[in-house]
């Protein structure tokens, strides 16, 4: 049987799916679970457009097999806003500080930010720079992303949700 059944939490919701063994987490999220906010770009783990959190840690979902999240908690950009649609502090900050342009890296950058703030609610500039250096943004020149992360921390609550 080249299929496997996995049980995990997707943005807090218990989810069980049976997928081919080579199903990638990115494709599972995008194609089977309608999380189109997960973007696929380089698909070899470098650019980070597909970054999601797995048990609070940022991972490239293009380079993670779905079977590897069995039992884990997976979070995507779709889980950031509150149920009533109000934006999370990270989302507000990226909007307010212009931390996005074409938007293709933005979901990944937001998840990196979420992971960072969860570990370190008051990161220093050097920590932010180091974390954001995990992913590629070709549009902004990064400074406005770094400021967005600082602003997200300031807006409170950050990744604590």
């Amino acid at each position: 049987m080249n299929e496997t059944t996995i049980d995990f939490r997707l943005n807090g919701t218990p989810t069980e799916v049976t997928v081919p063994t080579n199903r990638l987490l990115a494709d599972l999220l995008r194609e089977d679970l309608r999380c189109h906010g997960v973007r696929s770009s380089c698909e070899r783990g470098v650019c980070g457009a597909c970054t999601v959190l797995v048990d609070d840690l940022p991972v490239a979902s293009c380079s993670t097999f779905a079977f590897d999240v069995d039992g884990a908690s997976v979070e995507t950009v779709e889980g950031l806003a509150a149920a009533d649609g109000s934006l999370s502090p990270q989302q507000q900050a990226f909007a307010e500080c212009g931390g996005f342009q074409c938007g293709f890296c933005t979901s990944g950058m937001l998840m990196l930010t979420t992971g960072l703030l969860r570990q370190n609610p008051c990161p220093k500039r050097a920590d932010i720079r180091s974390w954001i250096s995990s992913n590629t943004c070709r549009c902004t020149g990064y400074e406005m992303i770094l400021e967005s992360v600082e602003r997200a921390a300031e807006l409170g609550d950050g990744g604590a949700r």
Binding site: N2, E3, T4, P20, T21, N22, R23, L24, D27, E43, R44, G45, G48, T51, L57, P58, V59, A60, C62, S63, T64, F65, F67, D68, L112, S130, W131, S133, S134, N135
Partner: protein, 313 residues
């Protein structure tokens, strides 16, 4: 991209365009070895950060053994002057491991610096080594430390780091021996399971890593006490060429007596003639090695390193 089956060109294979594989999820090294006996061509997967790239370069696993849940591969141990680091540790877990930080803090620091925050949470030391990509850094760090790769279920249980590149004492059976980067170098032909790396710390005085000139040239450098003298071993990394390890002995007893300039020149002069690559000419790289080794030795000298690290004098 991979070569088309009939050699008619290049096609863009992706990890999602390969057929599903048989998935095995063993819980122990013994189970992995048993599986390998049945499926000798099986792919061993841990963090999968590089495996994905290998799939894009043409690798198509029929059987995949995920070793992520093998606790034996997640250990760090220090017994009898030998530090053992489990192959399944991620860069994050490994570099922050308390025993490593206590035993060989300089390696922990260097290890904590490679890749990116995101990759460090997924990629493992074993994957970094077996990917056999020239630009990856663990072979450079471990090369200078003269570490051994420990293999279970293989013809030889221990191999030097250089074996990755098909050089040294490799037996030819596990490799195509070609001087190529990455999966093309037969990365998946390693028979047996890489369980970890072993570093002899008994005579190790100092270790340091210089990556400020990455990717043109990186230098890892270890100083050991051998027969009352200091032996300096440096591994030189680059983007397009396999790492090179050279040693030189300084006839002094303490790092404080080392002359950084002459050690730098000695290491540089021992480099092979063909160390040029697309990122730097041979003479420039040789010069850089002299400078970077000199800087590392100066740091060692000024650090006052006296007793082997982690070894109570």
């Amino acid at each position: 991209m991979r070569a088309q089956a009939l050699g008619a060109g290049l096609v863009a294979q992706t990890q999602s365009s390969i057929p599903p594989f048989e998935l095995h999820r063993p819980g122990s090294v013994a189970e992995v070895v048993a599986l390998l006996a049945v499926h000798p061509e099986a792919v061993i997967a841990a963090g999968c950060t590089d495996l994905t790239a290998q799939l894009r370069e043409g690798r198509v696993p029929r059987d995949l053994i995920s070793v992520r849940r093998v606790p034996d591969l997640q250990q760090v141990r220090h017994d009898g002057g030998v530090l053992r680091i489990g192959a399944g540790l991620t860069h994050h877990e490994g570099s922050r491991h308390p025993l490593l930080q206590a035993t060989l803090p300089s390696l922990a620091a260097a290890w904590a610096d490679i890749a990116t925050v995101r990759i460090r949470y997924s990629a493992t030391i074993g994957g970094n080594l077996l990917a056999r990509r020239f630009r990856y850094e663990m072979p450079v760090l471990l090369g200078a430390l003269e570490a051994d790769l420990e293999l279970a279920g293989a013809t030889e249980p221990r191999r030097p780091v250089d074996w990755l590149w098909g050089g040294g004492d490799h037996d030819g059976g596990d490799h195509d021996g070609s001087e190529r980067d990455g999966a093309g170098a037969g990365a998946w032909r390693t028979r047996g399971l890489l369980t970890g790396v072993a570093i002899d710390t008994s005579d190790l005085l100092w270790f340091g890593y210089e990556r400020s000139m990455r990717p043109t040239t990186t230098v890892a450098l270890a100083i050991r006490v051998v027969d009352g003298s200091l032996r300096v071993t440096a591994t030189i990394g680059s983007e397009y060429r396999r790492p090179v390890t050279v040693s030189t002995t300084a006839d002094v007893a303490h790092p404080t007596d080392l002359d950084p300039g002459s050690v730098g020149r000695a290491v540089a002069s021992r480099l092979p003639d063909d160390i040029e690559d697309r990122a730097g000419s041979a003479e420039y790289r040789r010069h850089l090695v002299a400078v970077l080794v000199g800087r590392l030795v100066a740091t060692a000298r000024d650090s006052g390193a006296q007793a082997p690290e982690g070894v109570t004098a």
